[in-house]
């Protein structure tokens, strides 16, 4: 079936099998490998992308379901000049990643989280990323990274980025 999907602002028209998952379309057909496949069972959130602005798990959506829609992946997040997005900066400054496998999904989910709730509490952040698993960090520095981006987006000085050992 022929589908047209706008990915990171660029239109792609391709013929795909109906059973192809959106994450495979993104990674294999478009070669955008920043979106990861972790569990492949809708649990881990590594494959999170934005579909028409909503964070979704691309391992549980068919590529044909994205026909006529707009997809945003981690590759679109930094500026064209390489300037980091506040969330990327927050993860870097706060040691919000160790192995980095979950990070693209964490960031794509957090983009929508901060759009809906620009100044979330710690509890709201923890519920907000409850569909994303990290097996390295224990989440504390991920929460701090999102708090950092929230502060930066609101023009507030982010809290100290000294690593927290709890």
């Amino acid at each position: 079936m022929e589908i047209t999907v706008t990915v990171n602002g660029e239109q792609h028209t391709q013929d795909v099998e109906p059973r192809m998952l959106l994450v495979h379309f993104i990674r294999e057909n478009l070669n955008l490998t920043g979106t990861h496949i972790g569990c492949d069972t809708t649990s881990c959130g590594a494959c999170t992308i934005l579909l028409d602005g909503k964070s979704v798990k691309s391992c549980t959506i068919l590529a044909v379901q994205a026909n006529g829609k707009s997809v945003r992946t981690i590759e679109s997040v930094a500026g064209a000049d390489g300037h980091l997005h506040p969330l990327q900066e927050g993860f870097k400054e706060n040691h919000g990643l160790h192995c980095g496998f979950c990070t693209p999904g964490m960031i794509m989910r957090s983009i929508e989280l901060l759009e809906n709730n620009p100044n979330p509490t710690e509890e709201e952040i923890r519920w907000g990323i409850s569909g994303n698993l990290c097996r390295c960090t224990g989440y504390n520095n991920i929460v701090k990274a999102i708090e950092y981006a929230s502060a930066k987006n609101r023009g507030v000085e982010p809290a100290s980025t000294e690593p927290q050992f709890v």
Binding site: P18, N67, W127
Partner: protein, 289 residues
Amino acid sequence: MIAQSFQYEAPGTLAEAISMLHKYGEEAKVLSGGHSLIPMMKLRFANPECLIDINGIPGLAHIKEEGGVIKIGALTREAEIEHSDLLKKHFPIFADVTKLIADPQVRNRGTIGGNLAHGDAANDHPAVMLALNATIIATGSDGERSIPIDEFFHGFYMTELQFGEILTEIQIPVPPAGTGSAYHKLERKVGDYATAGVAIQLTLDSKGVCTAAGIGLTNVNPVPLRASRSEKALIGKPITDETIAEAAKYASEDCSPSADLRGSEEYKRAMVAVLVKRMIHKAVERISK
């Protein structure tokens, strides 16, 4: 994991979708949010020959109040239910239940219609709909049909929906003043199916006597279960420690949980009793507010 090959159709109208269901027969499945069906297809537990994707059909995603009835379109996403002011006003239970359904990304896709039409006693909305006395609207080639929620669930993955019918709307009576509702499920981790779940809606008169009670149980029975004896134990009486204990006891006796990784049968029955007590307290607390 990749599903078996299938044909994909994306009808633009309900009539078109229904005629496709007739054309492809029993080998067709309706694709709504897809967050139960696609995982099952990837695991090849479900192998439909044709998927009829109803996401592009207009007029199926709404939350509105008409003539004392709340109408929720089948394609309404869990995330929309979670944040609906109209639902918050009448039914605090929806904020309880949606927060416990999977996770934010899944709630951006999963729909209330799919959650019910899937016919799984482990899903959370069935118990809530029993407590709220909902009516299911199914649309087929002969038009719409109303199905009382008590007649909707037939068995594991089996519902009253007939061949060629699509669940299109859920209707819930707006409760009178003095009504409170609450839901909780015990889960091992975020997004897990319930070890046990309890949905309750209670109405009290000005003297504190219970005039209406709806109690539904999640994942402790082959089909979503109405705790009828528990409801009767409350109606016509003031809510006291004794009536609450009686309602809790009946619910734990009348369900039929199976032992699995989430716990033994005995443990699940005990949790049903605990949750019934807690949810009655929570619903009553909400009335007094």
